[in-house]
């Protein structure tokens, strides 16, 4: 154990952990939203994310940008970022809704048992990831250097770069927007109603299938934003980019309380920081051991996660 290393690097490890955690959090929303309404873990969500990363890179590639091109000027960088975000959001949103249509809706219509959904989820995930793997020859695709790293905040040995700041702020803003959407708008009320009591909601005139499509779409949109953050932070994507990240994001969702939007944010950030602290203390080979031990300990004392409760019951 390397306590002095951890204490010496505590600030930087926390910041990089928060940036990674912000990506987990946005990714985790997809699991949490769908679980809150359907009581279903959408394992194909990792591929929703992966498709988003490719949509962004293909859009940038359309403008002749590849990882060896020079960093463009500030104005065009903003333009590219917005375009990349739009492309990723559309692609991820569409992928999520298509998965719902193809893999889940037919089963739901026939009242299939929950296990069937689990298998089609894994099946859809494998099909999409392998198809992209074959199409890309399982190669990495590099990300153009859109954001030139620059330090914006400097406290002691802790520095926050422009990219880290962008990622953390964007995640917080998106979380706030989603929170308002679910809690304050008419459509959001429909989502909460279906989560709480599907039959009751249907009797009150809420279209259940439309609400279910909506939560898949919302999860996809958030995954799209996470995808853009991911490519900017990691610098590459691949057909299996969603797999390990998906496990971490799912962990974050459970840690915060699955079905709870704010729980996803908290869980993501806690997990990102815990992984990095664990890596600092025991070495990077232990980072996942640390995060899962943390998960088990928290679930022992709070079986429903940090913030507990689900979408329906949280703020009915």
């Amino acid at each position: 154990m390397n306590f002095s290393g951890l204490i010496h690097n505590l600030g930087p490890l926390t910041i990089t952990g928060l940036a990674q955690g912000a990506i987990y959090a946005l990714f985790a929303l997809g699991y949490t939203l769908v679980y809150g309404v359907l009581r279903l873990i959408n394992f194909a969500h990792s591929e929703v994310f992966m498709m988003g990363t490719y949509a962004t890179l293909i859009t940038w590639g359309f403008f002749g940008l590849n990882q060896n091109s020079a960093t463009p000027g500030l104005g065009s960088v903003l333009g590219y970022l917005v375009l990349g975000l739009i492309a990723a959001i559309i692609m991820s949103g569409v992928t999520a809704v298509v998965i719902e249509f193809v893999a889940y809706r037919p089963l739901r219509r026939r009242n299939a048992p929950p296990l069937a959904f689990l298998i089609t989820a894994i099946g859809a995930s494998t099909v999409i990831s392998e198809a992209v793997g074959v199409a890309t020859h399982r190669n990495l695709r590099g990300v153009p250097p859109l954001i030139k790293p620059a330090t914006v905040v400097h406290i002691g040995n802790t520095t926050i770069t422009n990219l880290q700041l962008l990622i953390i702020l964007l995640a917080l803003v998106m979380m706030a927007v989603l929170d308002v959407f679910i809690n304050r708008t008419r459509l959001g009320r429909g989502v909460r109603a279906v989560a709480q009591n599907p039959d009751g909601a249907a009797l009150m005139g809420v279209n259940k299938n439309r609400v279910i499509s909506l939560v898949f779409l919302l999860g996809g949109l958030m995954a799209g934003i996470a995808a853009v953050m991911y490519v900017l932070k990691i610098g590459d994507t691949r057909y299996d980019a969603g797999f390990n990240l998906g496990i971490s994001a799912f962990t974050a969702a459970v840690l915060g309380g699955i079905g709870n939007l704010r729980g996803a944010l908290l869980g993501g950030l806690v997990l990102g920081v815990a992984e990095n602290w664990g890596a600092g203390l025991f070495g990077t080979e232990w980072h996942q051991v640390v995060s899962f031990v943390l998960l088990i300990v928290i679930l022992m004392f709070r079986p429903t996660g940090l913030l507990g409760e689900s979408l329906g019951r949280a703020r009915a």
Partner: protein
Amino acid sequence: MRQGLVRALGGVAVLALVAGAAACNSTSKTSSSSSGKCGHDIAFFGALTGSEANLGVNIEQGAELAIDQYNQKNGANCIKIDKFDSQGSEQLAPGVARNLVTNKKILGIVGPAFSGESAAADPIFDQAAIPLITPSATNPTLATKGWKVFHRAVANDQAQGPAVANYITNVLKAQKVFVADDQSAYGAGLADQVKAKLGSSVVGTDKTGADGQQTDFSATVQKIVSSGATAFFYGGYYTNSGLLRKQLTQAGWKGTQLGGDGVNDPGYAKAAGNAAAAGSVVTLPAQPATKASGDFVSQYKAKWGVDAGTYSDVAYDAANMFLQGIDAGNTTTAKMNTYLSTVNYQGVANSYKFTSTGELDPSLLKIWAFKVDANGVPQPDQEVPSS
């Protein structure tokens, strides 16, 4: 409607039967007509797909070139190459190896390409007594297991590791070095050799996830930056190595990254980006493929449309050693193995003579350092001593 479908399916099935029978016929014909040199197989074992496939493809193409040339002299389809794709995975290797040993026509194996899969597959080859020459697996322990069929056509990491360390101290003149690895048999073994030779100039160490297991290296990056190291050695393969280099550059680290033969591939720059990859140093426990003697370089380019890559020349030599053995009448695996123990072969990359444990004769070891150029291609820099 349904009847029509059944009929169509039946027709397809009959067609398949006929085609299958024809195929059976054609194979039985070639094997019956074959006597002496022809009708044998040489196997390739390594990654042809997966995240580290480039290294396996180099090797397969080198071996296939040798066999093609042999067949041009001795008749088409004289010797067949059987490709066994392990995806570079230790988990898949035993199953693929068991599949390989069922083919009794195979007289020798070029491979396995990586150390981890070698440890998993070589015992199966040893039991089946099929001689193998690995052109690339560099973990030293592979030669100490008592496998009678094991041969290594390159230097091992007991030579490569110290050579990297010598380069760091004598050429880069770095005082502070950070060493990390990917916990693979190859990566960790090589990193340990480097650490041992560098001694007190190692200011920090870390272990990352294996390839495909981790993409966010922020904790390792932070440790490297805060350690004040000016050189960073990563024991692992090119994908992880490239991602690390990219994220280090993003974090503002300006030191030199080094890697072993597993990083000696253009795939490194594909992961890192040319700008970040330029200036990195990678080694090779053999001479550069582009310096191979004879017409190998131009023939390889003519056949495959790409330049000869890491280990393609050694694989070419390994396949040719087997072919020379067949020429000399060693057409059983037992005879082939005896032949390899006494072989003294002059190839395009090196001369080959094996010790009793299957290692290359110590006088024949060569280690080269490469520098990644601005286009992301590792270019031969200099030969480095390993002691």
